[in-house]
């Protein structure tokens, strides 16, 4: 790849430029928003949807009254759990490359995914990709949606998941900032700073491959070279982070929502760690963010390193 993907729109272009579109399975498809997103993905040339679930009910939804499904594969399975299982079968058989959640709860879906224990399955974690507000590049925030209070070992897996995504987006080697409230390490008073310090030491031992992990960093140190300089932090990650690793789901989610709700920036949020990306849109996500989430999943599903 020639350098990092600089924007979400460029990522969309790269997906559209592929000769063969990937297929997305819309699991438990009797839910209008997911179906409309799948149809939009097809119209935009991102992915070809396969609808699995109560297809009869889906066709009867008033929001879909004008839609035509003749061009798409539809598998009728009125039971949600059986529909999810059939969707995962499609992914495992290679007949679809990623999944978008329809009318089922996220925890039900993730539990079923974890239950498959297929090869390549690691820790599931959430990543959000968004444009840097002042620079022509993308940033990744993790984990804003799956792991509530990850242990040190889980943070290693969360970082590894994000690093794999970053590499596919051309950030090579990815620079990971492990966030805390300050760059000072306090083993007794601030667990996030202790974990960040240990993760940085583990990086120096080489357990993250060529990714560079630094921390603890306050957010400003991670994303602003000026602030890093002002605070006297000299580290390859300071001010140049590609990945912002939050200490827990609360921090990750607040950062995610600050980007989307306060700054009104789009965010492509998906779940990674399975052998296929999972799109689990939040009710609060804008249409633009949902579109980019699908695009990101399509991009990752069709990219090999």
């Amino acid at each position: 790849m020639a350098g990092p993907v600089p924007s979400l729109d460029r990522m969309v272009e790269l997906v559209r430029s592929r000769k063969t579109p990937v297929r997305v399975v819309i699991a438990a498809c009797a839910e209008a928003n997911a179906v409309l997103a799948g149809l939009e993905a097809a119209r935009q040339g991102l992915a070809e949807p396969v609808f699995v679930g109560d297809v009869e009910r889906m066709r009867g939804l008033p929001e879909l009254a004008r839609e035509n499904f003749n061009a798409f594969e539809c598998l009728h399975e009125p039971d949600d759990k059986k529909a999810l299982a059939a969707s995962l079968d499609l992914l495992q058989e290679g007949r679809a490359q990623f999944l978008m959640k329809g009318g089922v709860k996220t925890d039900v879906l993730l539990r079923l995914v974890l239950g498959r224990k297929q090869g390549g399955m690691g820790l599931l974690s959430h990543i959000g990709v968004f444009p840097h507000p002042r620079e022509e590049r993308l940033l990744i925030v993790t984990d804003a949606g799956v792991n509530i209070s990850p242990s040190l070992t889980r943070k290693i897996d969360i970082i590894n998941n994000a690093v794999a995504v970053a590499k596919k987006l051309g950030m090579d080697p990815p620079k990971v900032a492990v966030l805390s409230a300050t760059e000072k390490v306090s083993y007794n008073d601030m667990v996030s700073s202790k974990d960040a310090d240990i993760l940085a030491k583990l990086c120096r031992m080489g357990i993250f491959g060529d990714a560079v992990v630094g921390g603890p960093f306050a957010l400003d140190i991670a994303v602003s070279t000026d602030k890093a300089r002002a605070k006297g932090v000299d580290h390859p990650v300071a001010g140049r982070a590609d990945i912002l690793c939050a200490p827990n789901i609360v921090t990750g989610n607040v950062l995610y929502k600050a980007v989307t709700s306060l700054m009104d920036l789009p965010m492509a949020g998906i779940v990674v760690g399975a052998s296929y990306p999972l799109v689990v849109p939040s009710r609060g996500d804008s249409d633009r963010s949902k579109f980019y989430a699908l695009a990101l999943a399509a991009y990752l599903a069709g990219t090999t390193l």
């Binding site: 242990s151 040190l152 070992t153 290693i156 202790k194 310090d197 031992m205 080489g206 357990i207």
Partner: protein, 159 residues
Amino acid sequence: MRHTISTLVRNEPGVLAAMALVFQRHGINIRSISCGETEREDVSRMIICVEPDEGKITAVTDEIASLNFVLRLEDFSEQDLMDRELVMIKVRITRDTVSQILQIFEVFRANVIDMGNETISAELAAPQGKVAGLIRTLAPHGIQSLSRTGLIALSRGDA
């Protein structure tokens, strides 16, 4: 058989030495001993773990119970007790072993408290069996140093 003896003793000089003398006279090794003030400043709880030869324990507990500073004695061996021990353990690490050691800590829910260039340290507060399990599992990786508090315990329920 291992015995966990819980005593409430007066919080005054010489108690620990006098208690230790009883075990010395009976030729019993103390596996661990922990002592601290209770909800009353003038009373301490002393938890002593021993593994005496069969038949010796009754003589020892009788003698301890008769000491004038001992307010109460219970042999927890036959009771359902809540027990914990705190261990701090420093293990040698290499690039190849550190992930496995972290997973061991995770399995035992041990908390990493420090990391150097060649070692990583963790703490675990758990029942003695679990502490022993952690130590056994880490032993092949090379334990550089280890510190245990000895067992503390209370009886379950309202007793």
